[in-house]
Amino acid sequence: MRRTALSLVLAPAAVALALAAPARADVPETVAKVILPGYAGFARATQDLATTAATDCTPEALRAPWNAAFDAWLGVQHVHIGPAEEEGRALAIAFWPDPKNIGGRQTEAMLQGADPALVTPEGAAQLSVAARGLFGLERLLYGDASDTNPAYACALRRALAADLARMAQTIEAGWKDGFAETVLSAGTPGNTTYLSAAEARQALFTQLIAGLEFDADTRIGRPLGSFDHPRPERAEARASGRSLRDVALSLKALRAFAGALVQGIGPIPATEAAFDRAEALAAKLNDPVFAGVADPGKRLKVEILQQAIKATRESAEAEIGALLGVRSGFNSADGD
């Protein structure tokens, strides 16, 4: 039976939860108030982008809805479980980092080849993950890549926007029609994904910690490079000027996620304070693409933001980990 209404999905799990631990709201809270609305927002934003592209595929028309779609993605980008991880969807939505410029070279090859079969939604879905999604579109909306073949670039934008909207819709439907229940029914007979309620909490906790690590180590760490070898050219979404915005929106999303995860369980004052500090530093950092990493006078501010996010991760790991009774993976943290 195909379920379409959220309430139908949540009902059986809510019953199971009430039987198991009535005071806890952590996992259902996170699914219902953060993850599902996040994917719904991303599906809407990408549909807006695709709808606009269908009538006007110029960069001028598409930049605003593309940015709105990227903003929406940051609300759920850290959720690496379920439908986003299937068939490489998350990778196709946001193929970054890409140190070998695989995506850029494929975009260039497509513009040279101008194969009409690729600029259909079906054709775009068959493209390499590196060529698609938000970053595939960014290359065609900013910079001069499109100059090779402006007419084909326009058609490619339309096809990639439709492909992105389709993936977003598939992920949202996948959560609503099955994976939300998989998470919420953790530990019940027949659930082979999460063998206990603790495993589902562990999985969500891991998304939070990994999300904070990605912001600190990848979004900021890659452009930071080392003091002797800063790498400003490695900043995320540099062409569109979104590097710092991505960090700020990710922190906002992770904070909401953390709050939902401990809802009804206990306060997290150290984590809240750490988020306060990191978000404040991001808000007042006047360096949208982390260009300052190459300037000894400005680099320190980027490093301080990175340290604040690392401190947030440490607080969250200790405080939320203790509240939920979970910890980082026994083997994943061992490394041998």
Binding site: I81, E85, E87, G88, R89, L91, A92, P97, D98, P99, K100, S128, V129, A130, T192, T193, L195, S196, A198, E199, Q202, A203, T206, T218, R222, G329, F330, N331, S332, D334, G335, D336
Partner: protein
């Protein structure tokens, strides 16, 4: 406990010296684990994931190796290891404690000779991580007999080739700080896969110079001599690299590239490798990526499945694989489908050793 005491008294009363693995309940696998109290132990598991026996260990374990005939296993400490315990899997007694010689450290793995008379251990010289293979007299109380070079830096897993006394060693190439695991040479590492005679002569060496930062660490062997090696990428994690290679003495290396959609799923890290019985499937696990990926012997990706903190992997006699994770689950995995076999309040450690 009752059963063990009974068997122990039976063994003493009848004075039959030759106990077999059947007397230990015929375990199918050995695996180290951390218990809820934080204590560590080595467990024997049945083919269906039931826990048959456990023996305490003084610190975190890593892998184990089983004697070919006697119901006796050697459990190795986590790297840098200061001990290995020889455990009688029937009585539960620790019959010998192996301590590396001064200035040497165990690296978590070992292998017996074909007749079980000799135990080989993967070791490093603490200063500089030069690889050594320790030789121990398994016939007479595990006295140290000597050592020879492993032909590389930082050897990790060592296995014996089927039906032979030749050894194959994964020299991971990473020099580590003697007091912890801090890597010291990631910019100049040279891992290799070395085949050595039981006297330590180098028979064949495989290197992957185009990906020198891919540390060759774990091994699985097929009965016909096909070797699968699992790697851990020490370079930029944003660069997709294969983590599984296949090699046969005298042949060319086959590297197994994941499909596009899975190219970063393992997070540059493979923790265990195993062959499925028959079939033609070989799989690797990644606790960091929470993923099991299976490939054909030609290196073609076949399927993958998600499971948090999964690492231990062995063949399942009925087909496919058995996997363990840090959340206490033992699972059968076939064609990308997980089937839980048992759950326990344990954190299964890196390796599931098939007997």
């Amino acid at each position: 406990m009752k059963r063990r005491a009974f068997l122990a008294s039976l063994a003493a009363a009848t004075a039959v010296p030759r106990l077999s693995w059947a007397d230990a309940g015929s375990p199918a696998y050995l695996a180290a684990a951390q218990e809820p109290s934080g204590a560590h132990a080595l467990y024997g598991l049945s083919a269906t994931g039931e826990r048959l026996f456990s023996q305490p260990m003084p610190a975190r374990g890593h892998a184990a190796t089983a004697h070919p005939t006697r119901p006796e296993a050697v459990a190795f400490a986590r790297r840098p290891g200061t001990f290995a315990l020889v455990i009688d899997c029937v009585t539960g007694a620790t019959t010998a404690r192996l301590t590396p010689p001064e200035g040497r450290q165990f690296n978590g793995h070992g292998a017996y000779s074909l007749d079980g008379a000799v135990l080989y251990t993967s070791e490093v010289v603490a200063e500089g991580s030069a690889g050594r293979i320790g030789i121990w007299d398994a016939a007479r109380g595990y006295a140290r007999l000597g050592e020879f070079a492993s032909n590389g830096i930082g050897p990790h897993e060592i296995r014996r080739l089927p039906g032979s006394d030749d050894l194959v060693i994964a020299n991971g190439g990473i020099e580590t700080d003697p007091s912890d695991r801090t890597p010291l040479n990631l910019d100049r590492m040279r891992p290799n896969l070395s085949y050595l005679s039981p006297e330590g002569a180098v028979l064949e060496v495989v290197e992957l110079p185009e990906m020198a930062q891919n540390s060759i660490r774990h091994l699985a062997l097929k009965s016909d001599g096909l070797v699968a090696f699992a790697m851990q990428w020490q370079g930029d994690l944003a660069e997709p690299v294969p983590l599984l290679g296949l090699h046969r003495r005298g042949g060319a290396v086959v590297l197994a590239d994941p499909k596009d959609s899975e190219m970063f799923a393992m997070k540059g890290y493979a923790g265990s490798v195993a062959f499925a019985p028959g079939g033609g499937e070989v799989a690797i696990t990644s606790p960091r990526g929470g993923r099991i990926q299976a490939y054909s012997f030609e290196g073609t990706p076949l399927w993958s499945v998600a499971r948090a903190d999964v690492c231990g992997l062995g063949p399942c006699a009925e087909g496919g694989f058995v996997a363990t994770d840090g959340q206490g689950a033992v699972m059968r995995v076939r064609a990308g489908v997980l089937e839980p076999l048992s759950a326990a309040p344990l954190a299964w450690d890196n390796h599931l050793v098939a007997l």
